[in-house]
Symmetry: C5
Subunit: 84 residues, 5 copies
């Protein structure tokens, strides 16, 4: 899993059916690279999270038909800019 | 998922059977790296999109037999060169 | 999918059973990085192709038991060094 | 598999159900990049380990429903900073 | 598939059950990056090999329950430092 920081929400009005009802967050890694993750937990900007990739991203959701390749798996309790 | 921009269509007359009837788009990321994605939505050059990789790319299509490893999952509503 | 160029054939006399009867090609990307792909189409050196990764690489072949992680999916009609 | 070094434990009180009962470790690679792996073996900080990615990460656990994309597969017997 | 060179054997006394009976090799790529692969063929240090990743790594073995994400698929007949 990767350690990433939540940047903001992502709005995509015109989107794939399977992703339709899910919250999407823009996340960044230690290098500043941006990606988009499904958030089943309810994170807010600034939270440091672990993100799950590969097929596990789908299985981490209640409905594995949600076609994501990146899902937020947890909010890290103690993590700061320096730990990264 | 990645955030990418649609560059143009891709024409491949001689192609794999499973990809035969699908629209392919050349997409680029923030670093200018090019990839090819199946487009089930109908995007036009310049659109900022989220792209889905891994096995989820196949499941994001009506027919999971389409052997893609990258599928456009949605058009981002508000995104510009500066957000990247 | 990636855009790659066919460099040459690859000969491996001693190889895994599942790959035994398949044509292998050395392919390179825009950065010159080399990889090996199964070629179900019949490409020649210099062809620009799209290559399929992840589990879709196996499904793109007639026999999904062929244990490849990269398969040539099509020859691009119009592509040159400048487009890369 | 990758060769990584265990850095420390990771605490995430608010986490995905499927990861709930598993020990998580922060691991780093030769470049200092940090990732998070499930540890079914019991490693301590400083151990050099091999980590398993892709869908094999899940299958390496007793319960393949644990939605991890990285699992520690073994502790390397003889490895030091110089071998890396 | 990647083109890699076998560096040496890897010994991990304390390892995951599913990997227990398999030969592991440290392999390097053209950039000198090290990885660990299961070797079902019997390679020796210095051999240039093709390695298979993704779920195909498991399927390339007799027993797909072996939880590897990288498996040696063949020894390349003619390859040298210059071809890399």
């Amino acid at each position: 899993m990767e350690i990433q920081r939540v940047v903001r929400d992502l709005v995509t009005t015109k989107r794939n059916f399977w992703l339709a009802s899910k919250s999407l967050r823009v996340v960044e890694n230690a290098s500043g690279k941006l990606e988009v993750a499904v958030d089943p937990i309810g994170c807010k900007p600034g939270d440091f999270v672990i993100t799950i990739g590969t097929s596990a991203a789908r299985l981490a959701l209640d409905d594995p038909k949600i076609t994501t390749d990146l899902t937020i798996g947890g909010i890290i309790d103690h993590w700061s800019e320096e730990d990264w």
